[in-house]
Each structure stands twice: as structure tokens, then as C-alpha cells.
């Protein structure tokens, strides 16, 4: 997958999915990886006696935050600024890109604008396609997270919010490293690959003076930023450079330092099946000691809206913003397990992507995503902050239907016409009865009898053909249930009279 994941140009989910499902290597990789992470998660969740209470606490905390988002964002700004950080507000992706590019350019220590930055894995910067904008401004961004490095060197795109290279296996990664790092003799063990990445990255950590990160959480009470990671590359980026620029959606804020107690239990167990992340970094502004202390001298936070306030304004969908980006819904989703992440045409794949992406596009793009779910509820069950994803999917489907039903759109859409017609049928039992009879007639030409004399349909026209591509359909029986029941009731009328007279019953054998 070399083209950027851009919901404004991505094909419909069902089209992209069909193409990707032809890749048997990809499907094996995705099936294997999601299964491994799910199993690890299930184990560390099962050992927590208060897991459901934690989920509830997480949900309540996130809901409270969203209700008072303006308050907590301003509180964060005040406290971060007081600690020596600089807070910037970005209305949308373009705004955010411009702010970051300007900050990077201004970050040169020797009067020259830097031509390189190092980066920590950040889906928010993927969302705004920051690397492309930096490149256009003459700045090369080095991804330092192992998975993001694999993606970058492989000219690929992330397919999972926590494990972006989940769709690649070890031998594919070895090939990418051999080719891109010019290591013809590279071995194939995990150790070999990690060593190669370490050697490749170490030199960048020591040389590059400007870093760009995302954020897992912004603590309003203290003005602190929190990042959790597994490899230590993050810690390097957060401590070695002179300038650190952190880009965060405004949804990342949490009220109190103490709230980390809840999310730092929920997140690692849900995301990677670990009790705790190997690296938990938390910093507040800069070290202002005149002699020069640890960490960057210049620290910037870019608080980005990019349609999040639109989502907040929608009462039924605002729970989308409660997401803490653990990816558990992706691993649990039977649809994602079949297609992998690229089918969603967005850096946010899987169930959370299916609700987040169309809303980030203000429902102008990605309208096929709310339908990329069988509504099985597995996502809701594993969500650490209890986002009722099926409910939001249904709500967004309604928005899509409203778009399709307006004006001339309705005429171009046989599905809308059909479902509206069926709705009329259900509004009257007599029309329903007639339709049942008509249905039996309509399917007659398609019916073929099997050895037992039962009629089956193995081909249907138009949209319905989706069903018969791998499934047969039994024809309607000659008598509906209601016809049987009425017939029986007529026959039983006499018997009931006997019952009333106390002469026994044919019931209750």
C-alpha cells in the first residue's frame, strides 16, 4: 500500500476490502497478529477482579472530560505554559501542519533551519499527513518506532493504530530492511532485525535536534504530557533533542494526574496485552534551570481540533471522542480480521475507524465505513472506556441514509427505494400478508428443487446477488406461520368450548 491513506480519495470499503482479501499473505498475517494480541489481552484482563469497574471509571472520566472540554483545555494551556511550554491551537489539519512546519523551521540552533526531525509514532500526525507536509518544506522526518520505521522504509501505510505494521510478517520486514538499509547479509531472527533498526536509528537520535511526537494524554491539572511506548525510542526523542513538538487532538486531555491511575491500567492491557507499558514518559514543560537541565529547551504542544468539536456537538456520537486509542476493537473485530486496516482508507481502521473517520470528514467522505460492520458487538465488549460502537455506527448510518434520501439522490439509489417500500409493507398486516403471497410468486422462477423436493434459490439478481454468491436460500414454505395458527385456532375453537366445560385439554401432555 503506497498511496497515502486519505479518506477523501479512498475507494469504498467494500471495493478496497475485496481487492485486499485477495492477498493471502496479508490475510494470514492479520489473522495471526490479531489472534496473538487478543489472547494476550484476554489473559491480562481476566486477572483483574475490578476490570468492569475500571472500564466504568474510564468511561465516566472520559464522559465528564468531554462535557467540560473547554474548561480542561484552557486549564491545560495555563499549566503547560506556566511550566515553560508553548501551546498552539490548530483549527484543522492544514492549520496544524503549518504550525508544525513553522516551528520546525524556527527550531534551528545555529541559525539554519533544520532539514531533519525524528518522530515518535503518532496517529494524529498520520491523520494530518504531516510527513508529506514536512517533506514539501524540505524537512525529512525519520520515524523511530520500529513499526513506523518498517512502514516508512517499505513505502507503506499503517494498518493498525497500535501496531501499524501488523500486516507484515518477519520475512517481509527482513526484505524491507535488507533493501532499504543496504544490508544484504541481514539475518532473519527478531534479534537481527531489532539490531539493524537500532543501528539505523541510534545515529539519528544523537544527531537530530528536533523531535515531533503525538500524545497519549494531556493532564489538565498539571499541564503534563504523557506518552507510553514499548521500545524506548520515544524516551530518546523526548529527552535528547533541543526542541520537542507534540501534536495532540483536543480529545486527549484528562482532568487530573490521578486519572492516569485508571487509563494507565486500561490502556496497556487493552492495547498490547501488557500489565504496564515498558516506557511511560510524563513531562511538564521544560527544565528552566539556567545551567541547563535535562530534556528539550523548547517544548511546544499543538492542540488540534480538526472536526472534533463537530463530533462533540453530536449528542449521540460524541462518545467517539472518549477513545484512548488502544486498538482492542480492531483486534476483536471479525471484519478487520478479514480485511486488515488498509481497506478502511484511513489511518483509523477497524470499528473505531468506522465511526471516527466519517466524522472527521464531517460526513462528506467515508460514508461506506459505518456499514463495514456486522454489528456483532465484539468491539463494544472489549472497549476499555465502553464506547458503544454499534450504537454510533447505527447513528451514522442514519446520517448517511438522510444524505441519500435527499432531493434527487433517492432516485439514484435502489436500496433506499426498496427499504422505504418494505417499511410501508410492515405498516399494515394485510399488506404484509399480500406481500408474503407475492413473494412466493416472485421467487418461483428462481426456485430449484433438491432431492427432498425442497425448493432452493442459488441465484438472485442485483444487490441480492451478494447473498447467493456463496449461499443458497430456501424458498418460502407454502403456508406462513400466521396462516397455520389461524387454521389451527379455527379447528381448536370447538375443543376450547369443551375445555371451558371442564372436559380436559389436549395441552400439557
Amino acid at each position: 500500500m503506497s498511496g497515502a491513506l486519505d479518506p477523501t480519495t479512498a475507494p469504498k470499503f467494500q471495493v478496497a476490502a475485496k481487492a485486499l482479501m485477495g492477498d493471502s499473505q496479508l490475510r494470514k498475517n492479520v489473522r495471526h497478529a490479531t489472534k496473538v494480541i487478543q489472547t494476550k489481552r484476554a489473559k491480562v484482563v481476566a486477572e483483574m477482579p475490578d476490570w468492569q469497574d475500571l472500564r466504568e471509571a474510564g468511561m465516566q472520566m472520559r464522559r465528564h472530560t468531554m462535557r467540560h472540554l473547554d474548561f480542561y483545555l484552557e486549564q491545560f494551556e495555563r499549566n503547560c505554559t506556566a511550566a515553560g511550554g508553548h501551546v498552539h491551537w490548530a483549527k484543522d489539519a492544514e492549520d496544524a501542519r503549518r504550525i508544525v512546519v513553522d516551528l520546525v523551521k524556527a527550531s534551528g540552533t545555529d541559525g539554519k533551519a533544520p532539514t531533519e526531525v525524528i518522530k515518535i509514532k503518532s496517529m494524529t500526525t498520520e491523520e494530518i499527513q504531516l510527513n508529506k507536509a514536512l517533506e514539501a518544506a524540505g524537512v525529512h522526518a525519520y520515524e523511530t518506532d520500529l513499526a513506523e520505521l518498517i512502514i516508512q522504509l517499505g513505502h507503506d501505510q499503517p494498518s493498525h493504530i497500535v501496531v501499524p505494521a501488523l500486516h507484515k510478517n518477519r520475512s517481509q520486514i527482513r526484505e524491507i530492511f535488507r533493501r532499504e538499509m543496504n544490508l544484504p547479509d541481514l539475518g532473519g531472527t527478531p534479534q537481527d532485525l531489532a539490531d539493524a533498526a537500532r543501528r539505523f536509528l541510534r545515529e539519528k537520535f544523537l544527531r537530530v535536534k528536533t523531535a515531533v511526537s503525538g500524545a497519549n494524554f494531556l493532564v489538565a491539572e498539571t499541564g503534563s504530557v504523557c506518552i507510553v511506548e514499548s521500545e524506548g525510542n520515544g524516551r530518546m526523542c523526548l529527552t535528547l533533542p533541543e526542541t520537542l513538538i507534540s501534536v495532540a487532538g483536543i480529545d486527549k486531555v484528562i482532568p487530573r494526574y490521578q486519572d492516569l491511575e485508571v487509563v494507565l491500567q486500561l490502556l496497556p492491557r487493552s492495547a498490547t496485552g501488557e500489565r504496564m507499558n515498558p516506557y511511560n514518559s510524563l513531562w511538564t514543560g521544560v527544565d528552566k534551570a539556567p545551567t541547563g537541565g535535562d530534556g528539550p529547551r523548547n517544548f511546544h504542544v499543538v492542540l488540534m481540533d480538526n472536526a472534533r468539536t463537530e463530533i462533540l456537538a453530536d449528542e449521540e456520537a460524541r462518545q467517539t471522542l472518549n477513545c484512548i486509542r488502544c486498538g482492542a476493537c480492531q483486534n476483536a473485530c471479525p471484519v478487520y480480521q478479514q480485511t486488515g486496516g488498509h481497506a478502511y482508507g484511513s489511518v483509523y481502521a477497524g470499528p473505531i475507524g468506522a465511526i471516527l473517520t466519517p466524522q472527521l470528514m464531517e460526513m462528506h467522505h467515508a460514508q461506506s465505513l459505518p456499514y463495514a460492520s456486522s454489528l456483532c458487538g465484539a468491539c463494544y465488549e472489549v472497549c476499555p472506556v465502553k464506547i458503544n460502537i454499534p450504537e454510533v455506527l447505527i447513528h451514522l448510518r442514519n446520517k448517511v441514509v438522510k444524505q441519500q434520501s435527499s432531493g434527487f439522490h433517492i432516485l439514484a439509489n435502489p436500496e433506499v427505494m426498496a427499504l422505504k417500500a418494505v417499511a410501508q409493507v410492515f405498516r399494515s398486516e394485510s399488506v404484509f400478508r399480500v406481500s408474503q403471497k407475492l413473494g412466493r410468486l416472485a421467487e418461483l422462477p428462481l426456485s430449484r428443487k433438491d432431492a427432498q423436493g425442497v425448493g432452493w434459490i442459488d441465484w438472485m439478481p442485483g444487490m441480492l446477488g451478494g447473498w447467493t454468491q456463496v449461499r443458497d436460500l430456501r424458498v418460502m414454505p407454502k403456508q406462513t406461520f400466521r396462516e397455520w395458527f389461524e387454521q389451527r385456532s379455527k379447528g381448536a375453537a370447538g375443543r376450547r368450548a369443551e375445555d371451558a366445560a371442564g372436559k380436559g385439554s389436549d395441552n400439557g401432555r
Binding site: 441514509v401 417499511a423 436460500l473
Partner: protein, 271 residues
């Protein structure tokens, strides 16, 4: 009985009512659902047989049609609203409502209160709140309302059970159906791998995303075949129609059968 159990049902953790037991003669109103009425009348007949055998009477409100699930879940919420009103009108005086479909009952429990809320109809809201605690999915009516596991069935076949997503994750019926099946005489019940995995039906999902749905179905069919069962059962004919459609296409000889039809079978009767 109108208000008992409401709290438990709505929150999903059912507070056990006092089991009514056999022979106390409830008047059960059957909500057959539109697709069972049209495509699976045998399931309805089996529900009637089981309930009557247990000493209850069954009535069928004739004005019933559809719960509105297909429209609601596909995004046609406006179209689903009149179906809520129709359901309430048809069943509001019922002593108990039983329906052999997990997804339709889930539709009611998960969405009817919200729908009534959105219609801003206080009267309807109150009626929905009063009616919902009386609505039972068929297997949970037996296990939770009547407190039964053994309903006197005989079914000498190798069977595997498919747990529908709505039954599992919305109604939380858990192992209730398995308890009912284990008590069936002669049955050779074998558990399927990945019981909690969706079969890929998802209503209009099977049509709109036919490729992905087919891939999910293929995994489920493999699970069914690995059990070497001759029949796959469940509490929702929509999943069974989906799985059964592929089982027939592949000429596996494995048949789908609703749990009510197994529980209705008796020694000496036709199997």
C-alpha cells in the same frame, strides 16, 4: 409482573424472578417476527408445541408484523418508528411476550426506549418501559422466567450450537441454551470452536459487504464442519439461514435447526 425484573433486564444483569415453573398456565403472546412468519413457520409451530406442553396457552396478536430491526440497523430510523408503535399496540396487554429471535428481542431492549425517547411521546415511553420487562427471547423465557432446563425433549442427533451475537452480547443469555440442550434426551451435543465469533450475517451487511461477510461465514462453516455434527442449532433463524445457506451450497448435508424445534421433539414423534 408488569414491573418485576425491569431493572435487571435493562442493565443486562438479570435479577432472577421467582421461577413460575410448569403448569401454572401463563397466557403467552407470541411475537413470531416477520422472517420467521414468512420463512420459518416450523419454528413458530415448535414454540407453540413446547409452551403448550409445559401447560401455557399461546395467543397470536394478528396485527403484528416486524420489530423494525432491519430498518433501524441499516439507518432507516424514521421508517422503524411506526413499527415500534405497532408492536406496543399489539402487545401492551400481554401477560408475557415470547419471541424465537435473539436479534429482534435485542432490537427492542437496546433501542425501543431510545426510539420512544426520540419521538418525545411520554405515553409511548411509559408503555415501552412497562412492556419490555415482559418480553422474552424463547430460550430465556424457559430458563429465566420459567426456571426450566429439562423440557422433556428427545432428539437423538449430533448437534452443535451457534451462539448468536445478539444473544451473547446484548441479551446475555449465556449458557442458557446449552443447558436446555444438555437436558435433551438422546442428543449428542458438541461445542463449536470460537463460539463467540460472528457468522458474518449482520442483516444488510451480508449484501452490502458480501465479500467480507462470505469470508466470515466460511470460518463459521469450517467450525461447524469440524464438530462433525449433523445439525447446527441456535436461537436466531437469521444466523441459521446464513450458515445454513452455505451448508446447503456446499452440499455438506448439515442442516440448520432452531432450538425450539429440538425442544419440541419428543420420543415417538417425528424427528
Amino acid at each position: 409482573m408488569d414491573t418485576e425484573g425491569l431493572k435487571g433486564l435493562v442493565s443486562g444483569s438479570v435479577v432472577q424472578e421467582k421461577p413460575v415453573g410448569e403448569g401454572s398456565g401463563l397466557r403467552v403472546s407470541l411475537f413470531i417476527t416477520c422472517y420467521n412468519d414468512t420463512l420459518f413457520p416450523e419454528t413458530g409451530k415448535a414454540v407453540v408445541r413446547v409452551l403448550e406442553r409445559l401447560g401455557h396457552s399461546v395467543e397470536f396478536p394478528a396485527g403484528q408484523t416486524c420489530c423494525g430491526q432491519m430498518h433501524w440497523n441499516t439507518g432507516y430510523q424514521q421508517e422503524a418508528m411506526p413499527l415500534l408503535k405497532r408492536f406496543v399496540d399489539q402487545f401492551k396487554y400481554a401477560e408475557a411476550v415470547v419471541s424465537p429471535s435473539t436479534s429482534c428481542v435485542a432490537m427492542m431492549r437496546d433501542h425501543y426506549p431510545l426510539m420512544a425517547e426520540r419521538l418525545k411521546d411520554e405515553n409511548l415511553k411509559a408503555e415501552v418501559a412497562k412492556l419490555l420487562p415482559k418480553v422474552w427471547e424463547f430460550s430465556e423465557f424457559l430458563t429465566k422466567k420459567l426456571g426450566l432446563e429439562d423440557v422433556g425433549a428427545y432428539y437423538p442427533h449430533r448437534v452443535t450450537y451457534h451462539a448468536s451475537c445478539h444473544g451473547l452480547r446484548s441479551l446475555h443469555i449465556g449458557d442458557g441454551p446449552m443447558k436446555l440442550l444438555r437436558a435433551v434426551r438422546g442428543i449428542d451435543l458438541v461445542e463449536i470452536e470460537n463460539l463467540e465469533q460472528c457468522c458474518g450475517f449482520g442483516g444488510t451487511f451480508a449484501i452490502k459487504n458480501a465479500e467480507v461477510s462470505s469470508a466470515m461465514l466460511s470460518e463459521k462453516v469450517r467450525g461447524v464442519l469440524n464438530t462433525r455434527a449433523e445439525a447446527v442449532t441456535g436461537c436466531d433463524n437469521s444466523c441459521l439461514m446464513h450458515i445454513g445457506g452455505a451448508l446447503h451450497r456446499e452440499r455438506t448435508g448439515v442442516r440448520p435447526v432452531h432450538i425450539a424445534e429440538i425442544l419440541a421433539s419428543e420420543e415417538g414423534g417425528a424427528q
